[in-house]
């Protein structure tokens, strides 16, 4: 692909970088406890959480498994589960 002059590059192409391969643990949502408050969504560094119909869902393409959502959730609705070895080769 030809280089742009000046090294100027298009917006938002990081979506092609699937950082989900970094993690070794993944948030597990205890749906009964989740009230869709959105606190976890605010604190996710990687924009992986969305609240749909008052329930949080995780974008596993990018989740790095940092665990902030599990710690900050006020409703005990998220726990981090081990995924074994990191899938990054």
């Amino acid at each position: 692909m030809k280089l742009n002059i000046g090294g100027i590059t298009e917006a938002g192409l990081s979506k092609n970088n699937k950082t989900g391969t970094w993690r070794y643990q993944i948030p597990f949502i205890i749906e009964d406890n989740c009230n869709g408050c959105g606190l976890c969504e605010i604190f996710c560094p990687d924009s992986c959480l969305t609240i749909i119909n008052k329930l949080v869902s995780v974008d596993t393409n990018y989740c790095k498994g940092c665990g902030i959502c599990a710690i900050e959730c006020n409703q005990n609705a998220i726990i981090m589960q081990s995924e074994g070895e990191s899938s990054y080769e």
């Binding site: 280089l3 742009n4 002059i5 000046g6 090294g7 100027i8 590059t9 298009e10 917006a11 938002g12």
Partner: protein
């Protein structure tokens, strides 16, 4: 030339003439920081802003680094911009100038040449602009005030050409051009702006079309990026020639494209130089020609892009080439001298003698030029060409 294009013709100071010309060009953003001897330019621009004639945003920056950065930012936003500096200020702008060349932003700088510290000295030599030569910025050296005025107009058009998009610098000798008084023709604003045209960057900072400037790049692409900057600077050589021709058609004045040849056709000895000393050399050449000496001058107008082809073409018939440098690279001789020798290396070439003179404003008179020519001729006759650059008239009593 159309006389109706003339706005004014009178005896005026170089700095005033340049400021008036920059005002006619109407850059949208001007970033300034004072340093002798460019201050008269920015002071006059301030007066023009204060009485509403110059319509751009005039920003008093906190340093030359910031002044150049303001030019960077404004260019990135698609607005024509301008700054001026000298000596230490140009060194401080260096990082930004490299950044502008790589990011392909066509801001224009007036570089009023002044010696570098230490010791602190406000007189002319070329060390300051020479130190920027690797950056990718276009550098044109002018001989007198009218050429300085006309070159500012040309250089905007060259820098903003779609195949170029590089920052550019008009280099003019401090005091000799900035503070001397000469008869100057100033041009009508509309004609000047028409000649330059509109700035049309392929990319600009714009929320409607978000882009990322200054990305982190790996070694798999960097050579090619830098090659693109190198290519653009090489391409600007044709544009310099083309715009010089267009300027001649429109305004009537012509200073050569990338070089000017003066009595070189049958010259056996050709002297090569840049800046205001060229005018002095022309006087010496005229006098020597009256005596029947076959001498000539190759004025280097464009130092970057480097006019290697033109130098080879002009010098191949001469027996002796004398390069007069007003700057040098420690332990490696004169800078122009070194580059001339390098481009001639594989060619049929004259003997090249490199003089370093005029450092820190030391005067160069026609008799000095004649002496260099005579010395050079003698060296060539005796087969004793100095490989090292010669510091002309070095005062051994001080050493």
């Amino acid at each position: 030339m159309n006389n109706s294009f003339i706005r004014n013709r009178e005896i005026m100071q170089g700095s005033i003439a340049i400021a008036e010309t920059v005002c006619s060009i109407q850059p949208g953003v001007i970033g300034v920081y004072p340093i002798t001897p460019q201050t008269h330019i920015i002071e006059h621009l301030a007066r023009l802003v204060a009485n509403g004639r110059a319509k751009g945003k005039y920003i008093n920056a906190d340093s030359e680094f910031s002044a150049a950065s303001i030019v960077f930012g404004a260019s990135a936003a698609g607005v024509r911009s301008y700054s001026a500096s000298s000596s230490q200020g140009l060194l401080l702008m260096t990082e930004v100038i490299f950044n502008m060349a790589g990011t392909r932003l066509p801001g224009v700088f007036s570089a009023v040449n002044r010696s570098l510290s230490p010791p602190i000295n406000i007189q002319v030599d070329h060390q300051d602009t020479m130190t920027l030569r690797d950056s990718g910025i276009i550098q044109l050296y002018v001989e007198n005030i009218q050429e300085a005025v006309d070159t500012h107009i040309q250089i905007y058009k060259i820098a903003e050409d779609r195949e170029v998009f590089l920052p550019a610098m008009v280099c003019m000798d401090g005091w000799i051009i900035s503070h001397a008084y000469e008869p100057v023709t100033l041009w009508q604003d509309e004609i000047v702006q028409d000649f330059i045209g509109q700035l049309d960057l392929p990319y600009r900072v714009d929320p409607q079309n978000p882009l990322t400037y200054g990305a982190l790049t790996d070694d798999d692409k960097i050579t090619e990026f830098k090659y693109m900057v190198d290519s653009a600077l090489r391409k600007s050589k044709d544009k310099i020639k083309q715009v010089s021709e267009e300027f001649r058609e429109c305004f009537g004045n012509y200073y050569g494209g990338v070089v000017e040849e003066y009595h070189t056709d049958d010259a056996e000895i050709i002297i090569i130089a840049m800046g205001s000393v060229v005018a002095t050399i022309k006087v010496a050449i005229d006098e020597l020609r009256k005596e029947g000496r076959k001498v000539g001058l190759l004025k280097i107008r464009s130092f970057r892009p480097f006019p290697g082809e033109e130098i080879i073409k002009t010098l191949h018939k001469a027996a002796v080439a004398i390069v007069l440098d007003r700057s040098f690279s420690c332990s490696a001789g004169g800078i122009l001298g070194g580059e001339v020798k390098a481009c001639l290396y594989n060619q049929n070439k004259p003997a090249v003698i490199n003089y370093i003179a005029g450092i820190g404003g030391r005067e160069i008179y026609p008799f000095n030029i004649k002496e260099m020519i005579n010395q050079g001729e003698k060296m060539a006759e005796n087969g004793k060409i100095s490989d090292e650059a010669i510091f002309y008239n070095l005062n051994s009593e001080l050493l």
